[in-house]
Amino acid sequence: MEMACNFLNCSKGCIPFNYLGLPVGANGRSVSTWEPLVESLNRRLNSWGHKYISFGGRIVLLNSVLNSIPTFYLSFLKKPVNVWRKMVIVQREFLWGGVGGGRKINWVKWDTVCQLKGKGGLGMKDIRLMNVSLLAKWRWRLLDGERTLWKEVVEEKYGPCVGKGKMLEGGSYSWPRHSSLWWKDLVKIGEVGAHGWFNAGITRNVGNGMKTSFWNDKWRGGGVLGLNILDYF
């Protein structure tokens, strides 16, 4: 190994390592993977120093900065509850107490703060739901007709994802033993409601009708699923 390193003039690395800003091969469920992220939130807060920022200004800063820093991480890894709590605490203390605020009276519930502005909240993003919806994009990419290398790798490893009774069409799917944590998380995020909100949201758009099953696919009469939420609970 040493010799190979010398010969290629490379240094020896180890997993996990950072590539394009994300830790590769890291365990998304361990807190240590997320430490740099929580760290960067705190760093950003400290960089604002002891300046006084008004409540209105803090709302803007939260919405535009503290809320968006995690987005890149969240679009790939499912974060543990523990990390979610930590991040919410950082955001919440900043909202009500300013930089270095510590514990102050939290006048409004965080759930309400996370509502849209038009619904009586502050338009903050709920990090958990943001995480789920960002990850759902990967499921969508698997369905989408484009051929890409990563999809081939995934299908090679876990079998075709599309087809009768497969995970992406609401079949009872159980992941194989050798599944990665990432794959398991991806399978699980679709199941917020009883039927799975993701599968409820997809329908077939029939063109020539040669690849859609008449009886088994949802292809006709698929309304907006928001209308019968009761079906999912």
Binding site: G56, I105, C114, G120, L129, L143, W197, T203, R220, N228
Partner: protein, 159 residues
């Protein structure tokens, strides 16, 4: 409105008596059936036909569609909004009140003023009454309004 169900679940009886259970959409053609249907089954079949009316065929291949977005392509935004509707708190405000919030945030006032108005609307400003509820004030001190001394200092009293 049918919220996305496949025909197998919508018409389980028709599926049972169908002899083309694996058929693709493009292959199912109207043809004379050998078997005799009961009247109620005929009705189901009629209803199925109604569902199929207005079907547009094209030469494109079938694709997936994300039903929450007009364009049919998945967006994180629509998924987030949908999830928020599923698990978030709901029914906090009626539509008139919601309109007030929308206009409030669009007003040209400085952000701190707007944010304060938001707190007032939610009754979350540090009035004596609110502070007393949160055990900030000593229970023995009076929570009468400092300006007029004639009523409890609540949000409605002050503004």
């Amino acid at each position: 409105m049918e919220g996305g169900r496949c025909f197998r679940l919508k018409y389980p009886r028709l599926f049972l008596i169908s002899n083309e259970r694996e058929a693709k959409v493009g292959e199912v053609v109207e043809g004379s059936r050998e078997c005799h249907l009961f009247v109620w089954e005929e009705e189901l079949l009629m209803s199925l036909r109604e569902d199929l009316e207005g079907m547009m065929w094209s030469n494109r291949e079938d694709e997936w569609r994300w039903s929450l977005e007009e364009s049919g392509a998945f967006t994180v935004k629509s998924a987030y909004a949908h999830l928020m509707g599923l698990v978030g708190p709901k029914g906090l405000w009626n539509s008139d009140e919601e309109r007030v919030f929308v206009r409030l945030w669009k007003s040209p006032a400085p952000s701190k003023v707007v944010a304060f108005a938001w707190k007032v609307l939610l009754n979350r400003v540090p009035t004596k009454a609110n502070l007393a509820v949160r055990n900030v004030l000593d229970p023995e001190t009076t929570n009468l309004c400092v300006l007029c001394n004639s009523g409890v200092e609540t949000t409605n009293h002050l503004f």
